[in-house]
Symmetry: C2
Subunit: 332 residues, 2 copies
Amino acid sequence: MPITIKDIAKAAGVSHTTVSRALKGHAAISPQTTARIQALAEEMGYTPSAVAQSLLSQRTQTIGMIITTTADPFPVNIVGGVEEVAQAAGYSVFLSSSHNNPRQEMAVVETFHRRRVDAIIVSSSRLGSVYRSELDQIQIPIVLVNNQEEGEYLHSVAVDDVQGARLAVEHLLQLGHRRIGYVGAVNRPKSNRRRIVGYQAALEAAGIPIDPSLVVAPVEETDVDQGKKGVDYLLDANATAIFCYNDLTAIGALMECRRRNIAVPQQLSVMGFDDIEIATYVTPPLTTIHQPRSRLGKLAMQMVLDLLDGKSVQDKVLNCNLVTRQSTADLA
Amino acid sequence: MPITIKDIAKAAGVSHTTVSRALKGHAAISPQTTARIQALAEEMGYTPSAVAQSLLSQRTQTIGMIITTTADPFPVNIVGGVEEVAQAAGYSVFLSSSHNNPRQEMAVVETFHRRRVDAIIVSSSRLGSVYRSELDQIQIPIVLVNNQEEGEYLHSVAVDDVQGARLAVEHLLQLGHRRIGYVGAVNRPKSNRRRIVGYQAALEAAGIPIDPSLVVAPVEETDVDQGKKGVDYLLDANATAIFCYNDLTAIGALMECRRRNIAVPQQLSVMGFDDIEIATYVTPPLTTIHQPRSRLGKLAMQMVLDLLDGKSVQDKVLNCNLVTRQSTADLA
DNA sequence: TTGTACGCGTTATCAA
DNA sequence: TTGATAACGCGTACAA
């Protein structure tokens, strides 16, 4: 059992109240006793119990973070940002995975509520809307990062998918490409739709008519496989450049090109989205759209702190930026 | 403020004791009141406070996990294993980063102690030995995963670096290579040393004399840069195959080979260690030694559960296995 | 079958 | 300047 203030009180021959006050340098305690008790506490190895403090203060200085899976580096990078800001503010972070399973996601929320976390941050939530009712029950701030549901819920921090996709297509246009394909993802409805919007906006702004045969959404197990299939479709449609839903999709595209002996970027330009670490290391290194993942996390946690401070906050939408590497080139 | 059992008691016209008992199906409460109170609790949206329960039970059902950084997918995969077992056992996991900074690592331990976590799991700790004294203070199980300090501390789960390195070199020997180089890491003293031991053991078993010029340890900022430099050194030493401390080092080696127009694996075989996700996607896909990261995490958490159950446990050393891809080939 | 009283570790109020 | 007491939410020994 850890040392308590009562143990110290007994050892010092004072009341536990005095110990409590001395330890936090309360003005009304004589300097001598304060010094004596602080020394004693140090010596006895006293560490205050956050549990007891929480019970009294009704604040745990704790937040719960839900991600889909630790196997995906994307949400994990968001956690990094969250944790950094949290730690600096004296908050600790519970991390739990939902495995993209709504039931599990609800169970985690329930657990966090039992633990009386002060707030919850959810990355890529599948059930944004469900929180509406849940929120009435638990009455704490919930911040959604890159929420995957349509609609206006609670508080959110997200990347501007439309702007990012636009940036990608504009880059390809600038290289002289006119037949630009898009390989979508069927299982991320919201961000996929918004990236298509950006794709179309860029083309329209350039006066290029939309060709539906250039927008494909292969149904495959993994992102990589979707990329492989996507290349097949888009080469048939005579694309000279393709923009992929994300980097893994683009990597699948690169793999398929290698298999078919299609030189990237000489014969086909390939772009991704996300800028995950792998993008730097594939051959050729992938031109992509960078998502500020760590900053998403930092802003989400900062928003939590503001909310807990009673400040009013505004939903945030962050811009992406272009990272030019070697998988794109001038139209031959 | 969340609903408490007192609120329910008032609403039901009974004492809070009765509510407490009814909610956990205590035998001595009449079925009717039990049902009535459970319904009421449900209706009022009651969730018990783990904080209050913890204060009473002196158990938080919580563990603290310390990793170096969320930017590295390696420890994050360990977290995945830990969290899976923890969640199944009703434990929640605090995650915190040490950024490889011993002072920060101590601060995190202190915070976890304040929060009265039931146990702590540390990945790649830099200060294993320090825990000896700290442990006397906090009196909870501490499990180290892939500890980076020599010596016997506390409890540990680790991969067998010697066996893994041996496996790698045996693979290269089998391909006919005789001049096999090793690119080490200066900042992971323990595992590096053990991988050298495995490297030497394999060579000796094959009756090949150790050539010191084939073992290099470039001092560079990143693993990747160390790999680039390592290739330079080892080509000068006429190596036909190189075994790298880890996959990132090996990827650096691949990059340098490409720059110098050295064909892998035709002119040089390259091996890594770890089997991180990236290894699959580089060109050529990397032959490497797989570390069971998730299983390390699961075993660490299982060990924690056993320790909390008062069972005695044994330190665990896990075998690695070979993953053959396309960066290694027969000696030309 | 149900209720009263106490304690877990801490802080705040009030009194001395 | 210090101490006794109550309270946070819950579980349990004991009493009714």
